[in-house]
Structure formats: C-alpha cells, structure tokens
C-alpha cells in the first residue's frame, strides 16, 4: 500500500499546475492529456473516491469496474470532439464526488451494480469535462487518448494499492476518514456552486 500512497501524494502535489482544457506547452499531446485528470482537482477527487470505493471492496475486483469505466470515459471524451459539450457543470462533478465520499465513509459493502453505475457516471462526466479547446483534430485526438489512458490506469493502479490495506483495521479506518473528507469537500463545493 505504501507505494500507492506515494503515487497519490505525487498526484495531489501536481494539482497546483492545473491548466484545465488546454494543451500544456512543451509536453506531447498524449502526455498533456495524461496529466489533465491528475491536475484538475475536481477530477482527481472523483478518481480518488472511485479508487477508495473499489479498493474498499473485498475480494478485489478491478476488471469488472474497468470494463465499465473504460468505455464510459471513452464515450465522454469522444463526445467532446463534437464540440457541443466540453465542460460539465461543477454541481454535477461535486455531486458524483459527494456520493462517492458518502459510500466510502459509510463503509458498508457496496452492491456491484452500484459500483458499476458510479463508474459509468464518473467516467462519462470526467470524459465530458476534459474537452480540448484548440489544436488540430489529430492533436486533440491524441490528447484525449492520453486522458483516457491515464484515468483508467490510475484507477486500476490505485484501486489495487488501496485494496492492499483493505484487511488492516487501521487502513480501513483511514479509507473511511478520507471518504468523509471527500464528502465534506464536495458538499462545500456544491454549496459554493449553488450560491453562484
């Protein structure tokens, strides 16, 4: 689990570099797309919640959720190519994180269908919110491919890392505390968004 935590730390430490929806200068399109969900706090909190939720479930099953997340995120990303939707409203992203935080903090066994549903919604939402503003069609496609690869790989890897601590009582407690923090952050974010 230690390695996974360091990866989480590294990802969270990158947030301040966020330049959402733009191709980062000096980075290749695929790399630029790959770092996008990791440097967008509203995406990262959903991904973290997803990893905690999936890693909390025993026995570990990464394959089934990924069979849902991968196509769902691909659909969301491909829809942005149409140009009609490139941004998802903040309350929707906050609502997804809120649900994830609540389920993780609750700590009870989650039905498989609920996990699949959340994976689908989260995948589509993050995909739709990762539209690229400018560039040639090929550059945009490569950027979106990078985003798709990274968000699925991150979820798979961190889920496995979280699951390693799943049988340790202190780690399960830590996971639930993190879930409560995600819930609280999302609720405040939702209130901010509704106020505006």
């Amino acid at each position: 689990m230690g390695g996974g935590i360091w990866v989480v730390l590294l990802l969270l430490a990158c947030q301040s570099q966020a330049h959402a929806h733009m191709i980062i200068e000096g980075a290749g399109e695929i790399l630029s797309g790959a770092v996008h969900p990791l440097m967008t706090p509203s995406h990262l909190i959903i991904l973290l919640g997803l990893c905690l939720l999936l890693g909390q479930r025993l026995p570990l099953d990464v394959k089934t959720p990924l069979w849902v997340l991968a196509p769902a995120s691909a659909v969301g990303l491909l829809v942005t190519l149409s140009g009609y939707i490139t941004v998802v409203p903040v309350p929707l992203l906050a609502g997804i994180a809120l649900a994830l935080g609540a389920i993780v903090a609750w700590g009870k066994p989650t039905p498989a269908w609920l996990c699949r549903l959340i994976c689908a919604v989260a995948g589509v939402a993050i995909g739709l919110d990762s539209g690229v503003d400018s560039g040639t069609a090929w550059a945009i496609f490569k950027t979106l491919a990078g985003t798709w690869l990274s968000l699925n790989l991150v979820v798979a890897y961190l889920t496995v890392c979280v699951s390693h601590g799943g049988e340790k009582p202190w780690a399960r407690t830590g996971i639930r505390v993190l879930g409560s923090w995600i819930f609280a952050i999302s609720l405040l974010l939702l209130a901010f968004a509704l106020r505006k």
Partner: protein, 202 residues
C-alpha cells in the same frame, strides 16, 4: 497490555499523506495575489479562532478517550456534519445562536473529557454532530466571496482533520495513568476556554 494495531510506519505514512495533501494548493494560493481564497485561506480559517480550535481538538480528544470505534467515528461525523453547517452558511440559511453554540461546544465537549463521561457512541456522535453545525455555519458565513471554492474546501477540511488528529494524538496518552490525568486536565482547560467565550472574557 493493549498495543496499537497501527504500525508506526503506517501511521507515519498516513500522517505524511495528510500533510502532503495540502502542498500543491498551498503553492497555488501564493500565486493568487489579489484574491482572498484558495487553499491557504481555507486551511487557516479553522485556525483563526481559539473557540473553533479547542472544540475540534476536543472532538479528537474525546474520541481517543472513548476508544474503540469512537476514535474514528467522531472525527468522521464532525467534518461531514460541519460541511452541512458550512453549506447552510454559504447559502445564507440562518442558524440561531451560532456563537453561543460554539462556546457551548467547548464547554460540553471539554467537560465530557474532564468528567471521563462514556455515553453510548450514538449519543456522543449526536452531540458532536449538533455542535459541528454551529462551527460549520460560522465558517460558511464568514467565507469571502472571492475564495477559490475547490482549494478552499480542501484546505478547510484538511485543517479540521489535522486538529482532530492533534486531539487524538493527545488523547492516546490515556494508556498511562499520568496521561489519563493530563487528558482529563486538558478537557478541563477546554471547558474553561469555552466558558471564557460564553461569558465574553475571551
């Protein structure tokens, strides 16, 4: 003899995780010149009032004092319910006698520790939850308009969590006889500070 089930390396890792969670946004907050907002603003907010600090430390202290499930349940309940209070404050939904509630939280939670009270977990959680509403509402109401919502919320919640952690760390001293006295004395001090705020001496 009771021994903690948390390996020291594991504890250190989780603590490091909590600390490093705040690094990125802290950096960006420095770049937000001209704006009151972001992570630093959120992180500092719970630390700006002694009445808030003592109550949040008391939650962790009481949780550790009660031991078992209470040690994590109370620090989970508090930020969740506090976020509800914060949302009410942000949305302008009024809550009566907020300042009195905050002062009372210090008194009641401090007295619980000082008197070594051991109510059922649901009673403790209910009590902590009720007081969390007042704290959250006060923070939500005082929030500047210009604050960066996401990083503000992250800083705010992490800061609160670290205050609970400080209380839990102190509360773990109850394993030793002298530590039990120190923890109960700490509860007494918290109750006195709460009285100071209630009667406007502080």
């Amino acid at each position: 003899m009771h021994r903690s089930s948390i390996p020291s390396a594991g504890r250190a890792t989780w603590f490091t995780l909590a600390l490093l969670f705040l690094l990125p946004a802290m950096a960006s907050a420095h770049t937000e010149t001209g704006h009151i907002g972001g992570f630093v603003s959120g992180f500092k907010h719970p630390l700006t009032g002694l009445d808030h600090i003592v109550a949040m430390v008391a939650v962790g202290l009481w949780g550790a004092f009660l031991g078992g499930r209470a040690m994590w349940a109370l620090p989970v309940v508090f930020p969740v319910v506090m976020a509800f209070g914060g949302a009410m404050g942000i949305l302008g939904i009024p809550v009566p006698s907020v300042e009195t509630g905050i002062a009372l939280s210090g008194i009641v939670l401090g007295l619980m520790v000082a008197c070594a009270a051991r109510p059922p977990l649901w009673v403790a959680a209910l009590l902590v939850g009720v007081f969390a509403i007042f704290h959250g509402h006060a923070h939500g109401t005082e929030l500047p308009e210009a604050a960066n919502a996401m990083t503000y919320a992250v800083g705010f919640v992490i800061s609160t969590g670290l205050l609970h952690l400080a209380g839990i760390s102190f509360g773990l001293l109850v394993k030793w006889p002298w530590g039990r006295i120190a923890v109960r004395a700490g509860g007494g001090v918290i109750a006195l500070i709460g009285c100071g705020f209630l009667f406007h001496y502080l």
